[in-house]
Protein backbone atom coordinates (compact mmCIF):
# COMPACT_ATOMS: atom_id res chain seq x y z
CA UNK A 1 0.00 0.00 0.00
CA UNK A 2 1.12 3.55 -0.83
CA UNK A 3 0.54 6.25 1.79
CA UNK A 4 0.19 9.84 0.61
CA UNK A 5 1.00 12.01 3.59
CA UNK A 6 -1.76 14.50 4.34
CA UNK A 7 -0.40 17.31 6.49
CA UNK A 8 -2.82 20.03 5.47
CA UNK A 9 -0.92 21.31 2.45
CA UNK A 10 -2.73 21.39 -0.86
CA UNK A 11 -5.26 19.19 -2.52
CA UNK A 12 -4.33 15.53 -2.91
CA UNK A 13 -7.26 14.49 -5.08
CA UNK A 14 -5.36 14.28 -8.40
CA UNK A 15 -2.41 12.55 -6.80
CA UNK A 16 -4.58 9.87 -5.21
CA UNK A 17 -6.48 9.44 -8.50
CA UNK A 18 -3.26 8.86 -10.42
CA UNK A 19 -2.29 5.92 -8.20
CA UNK A 20 -5.76 4.46 -8.59
CA UNK A 21 -5.34 4.85 -12.36
CA UNK A 22 -2.22 2.65 -12.35
CA UNK A 23 -3.97 0.09 -10.15
CA UNK A 24 -2.09 0.81 -6.93
CA UNK A 25 -3.76 0.67 -3.54
CA UNK A 26 -3.41 4.14 -2.04
CA UNK A 27 -4.43 5.90 1.14
CA UNK A 28 -4.32 9.63 1.91
CA UNK A 29 -3.52 9.94 5.58
CA UNK A 30 -1.94 11.90 8.39
CA UNK A 31 -2.07 8.89 10.74
CA UNK A 32 1.47 7.92 11.83
CA UNK A 33 0.60 4.24 12.35
CA UNK A 34 -0.85 3.94 8.86
CA UNK A 35 2.22 5.65 7.37
CA UNK A 36 4.53 3.30 9.31
CA UNK A 37 2.75 0.32 7.79
CA UNK A 38 2.94 1.58 4.19
CA UNK A 39 5.28 -0.06 1.64
CA UNK A 40 5.83 3.28 -0.05
CA UNK A 41 5.43 6.85 1.12
CA UNK A 42 4.56 9.93 -0.94
CA UNK A 43 5.35 13.37 0.43
CA UNK A 44 3.33 15.88 -1.60
CA UNK A 45 3.23 19.63 -1.23
CA UNK A 46 2.32 22.93 -2.81
CA UNK A 47 2.73 26.43 -1.45
CA UNK A 48 5.47 27.91 0.69
CA UNK A 49 8.35 25.95 2.24
CA UNK A 50 8.19 27.62 5.64
CA UNK A 51 4.51 26.92 6.21
CA UNK A 52 4.80 23.31 5.00
CA UNK A 53 7.92 22.51 7.01
CA UNK A 54 6.35 23.94 10.16
CA UNK A 55 3.34 21.67 9.68
CA UNK A 56 5.57 18.61 9.16
CA UNK A 57 7.74 19.31 12.18
CA UNK A 58 5.00 20.38 14.60
CA UNK A 59 2.92 17.29 13.79
CA UNK A 60 6.05 15.11 14.18
CA UNK A 61 5.25 13.53 10.82
CA UNK A 62 8.82 14.57 10.03
CA UNK A 63 10.10 11.97 12.54
CA UNK A 64 8.05 9.22 10.93
CA UNK A 65 9.30 10.10 7.44
CA UNK A 66 12.94 10.13 8.55
CA UNK A 67 12.52 6.86 10.50
CA UNK A 68 10.90 5.07 7.58
CA UNK A 69 13.54 6.45 5.19
CA UNK A 70 16.27 5.01 7.42
CA UNK A 71 14.48 1.66 7.44
CA UNK A 72 14.71 1.62 3.65
CA UNK A 73 11.07 2.31 2.76
CA UNK A 74 10.93 3.99 -0.68
CA UNK A 75 9.86 7.62 -0.32
CA UNK A 76 8.94 10.02 -3.11
CA UNK A 77 8.70 13.76 -2.55
CA UNK A 78 6.76 15.69 -5.18
CA UNK A 79 7.27 19.41 -5.97
CA UNK A 80 7.44 21.15 -2.58
CA UNK A 81 7.55 17.64 -1.12
CA UNK A 82 10.85 17.10 -2.93
CA UNK A 83 12.18 20.40 -1.64
CA UNK A 84 11.28 19.42 1.94
CA UNK A 85 13.61 16.41 1.63
CA UNK A 86 16.61 18.76 1.32
CA UNK A 87 18.72 20.08 4.21
CA UNK A 88 17.45 23.64 4.02
CA UNK A 89 15.62 26.21 1.93
CA UNK A 90 16.26 29.88 1.26
CA UNK A 91 12.67 30.60 0.26
CA UNK A 92 11.87 33.85 2.11
CA UNK A 93 14.39 33.35 4.90
CA UNK A 94 16.28 30.23 5.89
CA UNK A 95 14.36 27.11 6.91
CA UNK A 96 15.36 23.59 7.91
CA UNK A 97 14.23 20.65 5.81
CA UNK A 98 14.22 16.91 6.52
CA UNK A 99 17.87 16.53 5.51
CA UNK A 100 17.36 13.31 3.55
CA UNK A 101 18.88 14.80 0.40
CA UNK A 102 22.12 16.75 0.62
CA UNK A 103 21.68 20.24 -0.80
CA UNK A 104 19.53 23.32 -0.47
CA UNK A 105 16.58 25.04 -2.12
CA UNK A 106 17.37 28.38 -3.77
CA UNK A 107 15.47 30.87 -6.00
CA UNK A 108 15.50 30.04 -9.71
CA UNK A 109 16.13 33.71 -10.50
CA UNK A 110 19.69 33.34 -9.20
CA UNK A 111 20.62 31.07 -12.09
CA UNK A 112 18.43 31.89 -15.09
CA UNK A 113 18.60 34.88 -17.47
CA UNK A 114 16.34 37.75 -16.45
CA UNK A 115 14.18 37.65 -19.60
CA UNK A 116 12.78 34.21 -18.68
CA UNK A 117 9.50 34.13 -16.81
CA UNK A 118 9.19 33.00 -13.20
CA UNK A 119 7.67 30.65 -12.08
CA UNK A 120 9.08 28.00 -14.39
CA UNK A 121 5.66 26.75 -15.42
CA UNK A 122 4.65 24.38 -18.18
CA UNK A 123 5.86 21.28 -19.99
CA UNK A 124 9.62 20.81 -20.19
CA UNK A 125 11.84 17.95 -21.35
CA UNK A 126 13.72 15.70 -18.91
CA UNK A 127 17.47 15.33 -19.43
CA UNK A 128 18.90 12.33 -17.60
CA UNK A 129 22.03 12.78 -15.53
CA UNK A 130 24.56 9.93 -15.42
CA UNK A 131 22.94 6.61 -16.35
CA UNK A 132 19.17 6.25 -16.56
CA UNK A 133 17.66 5.76 -13.10
CA UNK A 134 15.16 2.97 -12.37
CA UNK A 135 12.53 5.65 -11.75
CA UNK A 136 12.64 6.37 -15.48
CA UNK A 137 12.59 2.78 -16.70
CA UNK A 138 9.27 3.24 -18.50
CA UNK A 139 10.04 6.63 -20.07
CA UNK A 140 12.61 8.13 -22.45
CA UNK A 141 15.00 11.03 -22.24
CA UNK A 142 13.39 14.25 -23.56
CA UNK A 143 9.91 13.14 -22.54
CA UNK A 144 8.07 16.20 -21.23
CA UNK A 145 6.72 16.63 -17.71
CA UNK A 146 4.77 19.43 -16.06
CA UNK A 147 6.55 21.94 -13.81
CA UNK A 148 5.32 24.76 -11.56
CA UNK A 149 8.01 26.23 -9.30
CA UNK A 150 10.03 29.34 -8.47
CA UNK A 151 12.72 27.64 -6.34
CA UNK A 152 15.00 24.72 -7.19
CA UNK A 153 17.34 22.16 -5.68
CA UNK A 154 20.93 23.48 -5.61
CA UNK A 155 24.28 21.99 -4.54
CA UNK A 156 22.87 18.49 -4.83
CA UNK A 157 25.06 17.21 -7.69
CA UNK A 158 25.50 13.75 -6.15
CA UNK A 159 21.74 13.17 -6.04
CA UNK A 160 20.53 14.65 -9.34
CA UNK A 161 19.13 12.08 -11.76
CA UNK A 162 17.39 14.48 -14.18
CA UNK A 163 17.35 18.15 -15.06
CA UNK A 164 15.21 20.45 -17.20
CA UNK A 165 16.76 23.19 -19.32
CA UNK A 166 15.37 26.65 -18.57
CA UNK A 167 18.21 29.05 -19.21
CA UNK A 168 20.12 26.78 -16.84
CA UNK A 169 19.84 23.08 -16.04
CA UNK A 170 17.30 23.03 -13.18
CA UNK A 171 17.11 20.02 -10.85
CA UNK A 172 14.13 17.94 -11.99
CA UNK A 173 14.60 14.73 -9.99
CA UNK A 174 16.90 13.48 -7.23
CA UNK A 175 17.63 10.24 -5.43
CA UNK A 176 19.61 9.27 -2.37
CA UNK A 177 19.36 5.51 -1.70
CA UNK A 178 15.63 4.83 -1.21
CA UNK A 179 14.62 8.51 -1.09
CA UNK A 180 13.37 10.03 -4.37
CA UNK A 181 12.20 13.48 -5.31
CA UNK A 182 10.53 15.03 -8.39
CA UNK A 183 10.35 18.78 -8.82
CA UNK A 184 7.70 18.29 -11.51
CA UNK A 185 4.17 16.93 -11.00
CA UNK A 186 3.96 13.32 -12.24
CA UNK A 187 0.23 13.36 -11.50
CA UNK A 188 -0.15 16.20 -14.06
CA UNK A 189 2.32 14.87 -16.64
CA UNK A 190 0.08 12.58 -18.65
CA UNK A 191 1.22 9.03 -19.45
CA UNK A 192 4.86 9.91 -18.81
CA UNK A 193 4.03 10.94 -15.27
CA UNK A 194 1.94 7.86 -14.60
CA UNK A 195 4.82 5.71 -15.86
CA UNK A 196 7.16 7.39 -13.39
CA UNK A 197 4.75 6.67 -10.53
CA UNK A 198 4.41 3.07 -11.77
CA UNK A 199 8.21 2.65 -11.70
CA UNK A 200 8.34 4.10 -8.19
CA UNK A 201 5.67 1.69 -7.00
CA UNK A 202 7.78 -1.21 -8.28
CA UNK A 203 10.83 -0.20 -6.21
CA UNK A 204 11.92 -2.80 -3.66
Amino acid sequence: MVAIIDYGVGNLFSLASSFKQIGVNVVVTGDKEVIKNADKIILPGVGAFEDASKKLFSSKLSDVIVEQAQKGVPILGICLGMQLLFQKSYEYGEHEGLGLIKGEIRPIKEVIPSHLKIPHIGWNALKFSKEKNQLFKYINENDCVYFVHSFYGANCEDSVIATAEYGAPLTAAVVCKNVYGCQFHPEKSGKVGLNILRAFCEME
Binding site: F13, S17, K20, G47, H120, G122, C144
Partner: protein
Amino acid sequence: MITKRIIPCLDVKNGRVVKGVNFTGLLDVSSPVELGKYYSDNGADELVFYDITASSEDRAIFTDILKEVASTIFIPLTVGGGINTLNDFDRVLKCGADKVSVNSGAIKNPSLIYEAAKRYGDQCVVLSADVKRVDGVFKVFAKGGRENTGMDALEWIKRGVDNGAGEIVLNSIDTDGVKKGFDLEMLKAVCDIVSVPVIASGGAGKVEDFIELFKTLPKVDAGLAASIFHFGEVRINELKKALKDNDILVRL
Protein backbone atom coordinates in the same frame (compact mmCIF):
# COMPACT_ATOMS: atom_id res chain seq x y z
CA MET B 1 12.81 24.98 -22.67
CA ILE B 2 9.11 25.27 -22.01
CA THR B 3 6.97 24.00 -24.87
CA LYS B 4 4.15 25.96 -26.49
CA ARG B 5 0.80 24.70 -25.25
CA ILE B 6 -2.32 23.75 -27.20
CA ILE B 7 -5.46 24.01 -25.12
CA PRO B 8 -8.97 22.88 -26.02
CA CYS B 9 -11.78 24.65 -24.21
CA LEU B 10 -14.97 22.79 -23.28
CA ASP B 11 -18.10 24.78 -22.50
CA VAL B 12 -20.25 22.77 -20.14
CA LYS B 13 -23.95 23.27 -19.52
CA ASN B 14 -26.21 20.92 -17.56
CA GLY B 15 -23.39 18.42 -17.44
CA ARG B 16 -22.91 18.30 -21.22
CA VAL B 17 -20.41 19.87 -23.60
CA VAL B 18 -22.29 22.40 -25.67
CA LYS B 19 -21.53 23.17 -29.31
CA GLY B 20 -21.61 20.07 -31.42
CA VAL B 21 -18.72 17.76 -31.64
CA ASN B 22 -17.99 15.22 -34.31
CA PHE B 23 -15.54 12.63 -33.27
CA THR B 24 -15.59 9.10 -34.43
CA GLY B 25 -14.80 6.55 -31.78
CA LEU B 26 -16.43 8.43 -28.95
CA LEU B 27 -19.46 6.77 -27.46
CA ASP B 28 -20.87 10.00 -26.14
CA VAL B 29 -19.53 13.08 -27.86
CA SER B 30 -21.05 15.54 -25.48
CA SER B 31 -19.80 13.88 -22.32
CA PRO B 32 -17.19 16.18 -20.72
CA VAL B 33 -15.45 13.14 -19.28
CA GLU B 34 -15.16 11.26 -22.58
CA LEU B 35 -14.21 14.33 -24.58
CA GLY B 36 -11.67 15.42 -21.97
CA LYS B 37 -10.09 11.99 -22.02
CA TYR B 38 -10.01 12.02 -25.82
CA TYR B 39 -8.14 15.32 -25.85
CA SER B 40 -5.82 14.27 -23.07
CA ASP B 41 -4.91 11.09 -24.97
CA ASN B 42 -4.46 12.98 -28.22
CA GLY B 43 -1.96 15.65 -27.38
CA ALA B 44 -3.77 18.43 -25.51
CA ASP B 45 -1.36 20.08 -23.07
CA GLU B 46 -4.05 21.36 -20.78
CA LEU B 47 -7.84 21.48 -20.64
CA VAL B 48 -10.11 24.38 -19.89
CA PHE B 49 -13.57 23.61 -18.56
CA TYR B 50 -15.94 26.49 -18.70
CA ASP B 51 -19.14 26.38 -16.66
CA ILE B 52 -21.76 28.30 -18.61
CA THR B 53 -24.67 27.40 -16.37
CA ALA B 54 -26.37 29.98 -14.25
CA SER B 55 -28.32 28.25 -11.49
CA SER B 56 -26.74 26.89 -8.36
CA GLU B 57 -28.38 23.52 -9.01
CA ASP B 58 -26.56 23.23 -12.32
CA ARG B 59 -23.40 24.43 -10.62
CA ALA B 60 -23.51 21.35 -8.41
CA ILE B 61 -23.77 19.16 -11.52
CA PHE B 62 -20.74 20.92 -12.98
CA THR B 63 -18.76 20.32 -9.81
CA ASP B 64 -19.54 16.60 -9.89
CA ILE B 65 -18.50 16.40 -13.55
CA LEU B 66 -15.31 18.25 -12.78
CA LYS B 67 -14.43 15.73 -10.11
CA GLU B 68 -14.96 12.89 -12.53
CA VAL B 69 -12.84 14.59 -15.19
CA ALA B 70 -10.05 15.30 -12.71
CA SER B 71 -9.96 11.68 -11.61
CA THR B 72 -9.49 10.39 -15.16
CA ILE B 73 -7.27 13.04 -16.78
CA PHE B 74 -3.71 13.63 -15.69
CA ILE B 75 -2.84 16.92 -17.33
CA PRO B 76 -3.39 20.43 -15.92
CA LEU B 77 -7.01 21.52 -15.66
CA THR B 78 -8.21 25.09 -15.68
CA VAL B 79 -11.75 25.89 -14.64
CA GLY B 80 -13.69 29.04 -15.37
CA GLY B 81 -17.23 30.35 -15.41
CA GLY B 82 -19.15 31.62 -12.42
CA ILE B 83 -16.05 32.34 -10.34
CA ASN B 84 -17.06 35.29 -8.18
CA THR B 85 -15.69 34.58 -4.71
CA LEU B 86 -12.91 32.79 -2.88
CA ASN B 87 -15.47 30.10 -2.06
CA ASP B 88 -15.82 29.48 -5.80
CA PHE B 89 -12.04 29.05 -6.03
CA ASP B 90 -12.15 26.64 -3.12
CA ARG B 91 -15.03 24.68 -4.63
CA VAL B 92 -13.32 23.96 -7.95
CA LEU B 93 -9.81 23.49 -6.54
CA LYS B 94 -11.15 20.80 -4.21
CA CYS B 95 -12.51 18.99 -7.25
CA GLY B 96 -9.06 18.78 -8.79
CA ALA B 97 -8.71 22.01 -10.79
CA ASP B 98 -5.13 23.31 -10.95
CA LYS B 99 -5.92 26.83 -12.10
CA VAL B 100 -9.00 28.99 -11.86
CA SER B 101 -9.96 31.48 -14.51
CA VAL B 102 -11.75 34.70 -13.55
CA ASN B 103 -13.48 37.10 -15.89
CA SER B 104 -16.73 38.91 -14.97
CA GLY B 105 -16.18 38.04 -11.31
CA ALA B 106 -12.99 40.10 -11.28
CA ILE B 107 -14.71 42.98 -13.06
CA LYS B 108 -17.43 43.05 -10.40
CA ASN B 109 -14.91 42.68 -7.59
CA PRO B 110 -11.34 43.59 -8.62
CA SER B 111 -9.89 42.54 -5.25
CA LEU B 112 -10.82 38.92 -6.07
CA ILE B 113 -7.58 38.46 -8.04
CA TYR B 114 -5.45 39.80 -5.21
CA GLU B 115 -7.22 37.76 -2.53
CA ALA B 116 -7.09 34.55 -4.56
CA ALA B 117 -3.42 35.00 -5.52
CA LYS B 118 -2.54 35.59 -1.89
CA ARG B 119 -4.34 32.44 -0.77
CA TYR B 120 -3.59 30.03 -3.62
CA GLY B 121 -0.53 31.52 -5.33
CA ASP B 122 -0.18 33.52 -8.55
CA GLN B 123 0.18 30.38 -10.64
CA CYS B 124 -3.38 29.41 -9.72
CA VAL B 125 -5.09 32.60 -10.90
CA VAL B 126 -5.83 33.09 -14.59
CA LEU B 127 -7.31 36.38 -15.77
CA SER B 128 -9.51 35.83 -18.79
CA ALA B 129 -10.35 39.01 -20.68
CA ASP B 130 -12.86 39.46 -23.52
CA VAL B 131 -11.55 42.40 -25.51
CA LYS B 132 -12.94 44.34 -28.47
CA ARG B 133 -11.89 47.45 -30.34
CA VAL B 134 -14.15 50.44 -29.74
CA ASP B 135 -13.19 53.51 -31.77
CA GLY B 136 -9.75 51.99 -32.22
CA VAL B 137 -9.18 51.42 -28.49
CA PHE B 138 -9.09 47.99 -26.82
CA LYS B 139 -11.97 47.79 -24.33
CA VAL B 140 -12.88 45.07 -21.81
CA PHE B 141 -16.28 43.47 -22.22
CA ALA B 142 -18.25 41.65 -19.53
CA LYS B 143 -21.06 39.08 -19.48
CA GLY B 144 -19.62 36.82 -22.14
CA GLY B 145 -18.68 39.72 -24.38
CA ARG B 146 -22.11 41.35 -24.43
CA GLU B 147 -21.47 44.40 -22.29
CA ASN B 148 -18.85 47.11 -22.77
CA THR B 149 -17.38 47.98 -19.37
CA GLY B 150 -15.73 51.08 -20.81
CA MET B 151 -12.44 50.02 -19.22
CA ASP B 152 -9.22 50.20 -21.19
CA ALA B 153 -8.18 46.56 -21.77
CA LEU B 154 -4.45 47.07 -21.49
CA GLU B 155 -4.81 48.93 -18.19
CA TRP B 156 -7.17 46.27 -16.89
CA ILE B 157 -4.83 43.42 -17.78
CA LYS B 158 -1.78 45.22 -16.38
CA ARG B 159 -3.65 45.83 -13.15
CA GLY B 160 -4.70 42.17 -12.98
CA VAL B 161 -1.10 41.03 -13.31
CA ASP B 162 0.04 43.56 -10.70
CA ASN B 163 -2.62 42.12 -8.38
CA GLY B 164 -1.32 38.59 -8.85
CA ALA B 165 -2.84 37.03 -11.97
CA GLY B 166 -0.30 34.43 -13.09
CA GLU B 167 -1.57 34.00 -16.61
CA ILE B 168 -3.70 35.88 -19.14
CA VAL B 169 -6.23 34.42 -21.54
CA LEU B 170 -6.82 37.06 -24.17
CA ASN B 171 -9.98 36.47 -26.12
CA SER B 172 -10.43 38.84 -29.02
CA ILE B 173 -14.12 39.40 -29.69
CA ASP B 174 -13.14 40.98 -33.02
CA THR B 175 -11.62 37.77 -34.38
CA ASP B 176 -13.67 35.22 -32.41
CA GLY B 177 -15.59 32.91 -34.72
CA VAL B 178 -14.16 34.52 -37.86
CA LYS B 179 -11.60 31.71 -38.33
CA LYS B 180 -9.11 33.91 -40.17
CA GLY B 181 -6.38 33.75 -37.57
CA PHE B 182 -5.63 35.05 -34.09
CA ASP B 183 -5.70 38.76 -33.30
CA LEU B 184 -1.95 39.30 -33.56
CA GLU B 185 -2.15 43.06 -33.09
CA MET B 186 -4.11 42.79 -29.85
CA LEU B 187 -1.92 39.94 -28.59
CA LYS B 188 1.25 41.90 -29.27
CA ALA B 189 -0.09 44.87 -27.34
CA VAL B 190 -0.71 42.63 -24.32
CA CYS B 191 2.59 40.71 -24.58
CA ASP B 192 4.43 44.03 -24.59
CA ILE B 193 3.06 45.06 -21.20
CA VAL B 194 2.99 41.85 -19.14
CA SER B 195 5.63 39.30 -18.19
CA VAL B 196 3.29 36.42 -17.30
CA PRO B 197 2.24 33.76 -19.84
CA VAL B 198 -0.30 34.91 -22.44
CA ILE B 199 -2.78 32.47 -23.98
CA ALA B 200 -4.21 33.45 -27.35
CA SER B 201 -7.90 32.83 -27.93
CA GLY B 202 -10.33 33.69 -30.69
CA GLY B 203 -9.92 33.40 -34.42
CA ALA B 204 -8.07 30.16 -35.12
CA GLY B 205 -9.49 28.34 -38.13
CA LYS B 206 -6.63 26.15 -39.35
CA VAL B 207 -3.20 24.77 -38.50
CA GLU B 208 -1.41 27.66 -40.23
CA ASP B 209 -3.04 30.14 -37.86
CA PHE B 210 -1.20 28.55 -34.93
CA ILE B 211 2.10 28.49 -36.83
CA GLU B 212 1.68 32.17 -37.67
CA LEU B 213 0.81 32.93 -34.03
CA PHE B 214 3.93 31.38 -32.52
CA LYS B 215 6.24 32.51 -35.34
CA THR B 216 5.07 36.13 -35.24
CA LEU B 217 4.73 36.41 -31.47
CA PRO B 218 7.27 34.16 -29.73
CA LYS B 219 6.16 35.60 -26.39
CA VAL B 220 2.73 33.98 -26.67
CA ASP B 221 2.76 30.77 -24.63
CA ALA B 222 -0.34 28.92 -25.75
CA GLY B 223 -3.17 28.77 -28.26
CA LEU B 224 -6.70 28.05 -27.10
CA ALA B 225 -9.67 27.05 -29.24
CA ALA B 226 -12.94 25.21 -28.96
CA SER B 227 -15.09 24.40 -31.98
CA ILE B 228 -12.29 23.83 -34.50
CA PHE B 229 -11.04 21.07 -32.22
CA HIS B 230 -14.53 19.77 -31.37
CA PHE B 231 -15.50 19.59 -35.04
CA GLY B 232 -12.23 17.97 -35.99
CA GLU B 233 -11.29 20.80 -38.39
CA VAL B 234 -7.95 20.86 -36.60
CA ARG B 235 -6.65 17.68 -34.96
CA ILE B 236 -4.39 18.46 -32.04
CA ASN B 237 -1.81 15.75 -32.72
CA GLU B 238 -1.53 16.82 -36.37
CA LEU B 239 -1.33 20.46 -35.33
CA LYS B 240 1.52 19.71 -32.95
CA LYS B 241 3.44 17.77 -35.61
CA ALA B 242 3.06 20.73 -37.97
CA LEU B 243 4.31 23.11 -35.26
CA LYS B 244 7.33 20.88 -34.67
CA ASP B 245 8.07 20.81 -38.42
CA ASN B 246 8.13 24.60 -38.23
CA ASP B 247 10.72 24.54 -35.43
CA ILE B 248 8.21 25.46 -32.74
CA LEU B 249 8.88 23.60 -29.51
CA VAL B 250 5.96 21.35 -28.56
CA ARG B 251 5.38 18.25 -26.47
CA LEU B 252 4.75 15.27 -28.73
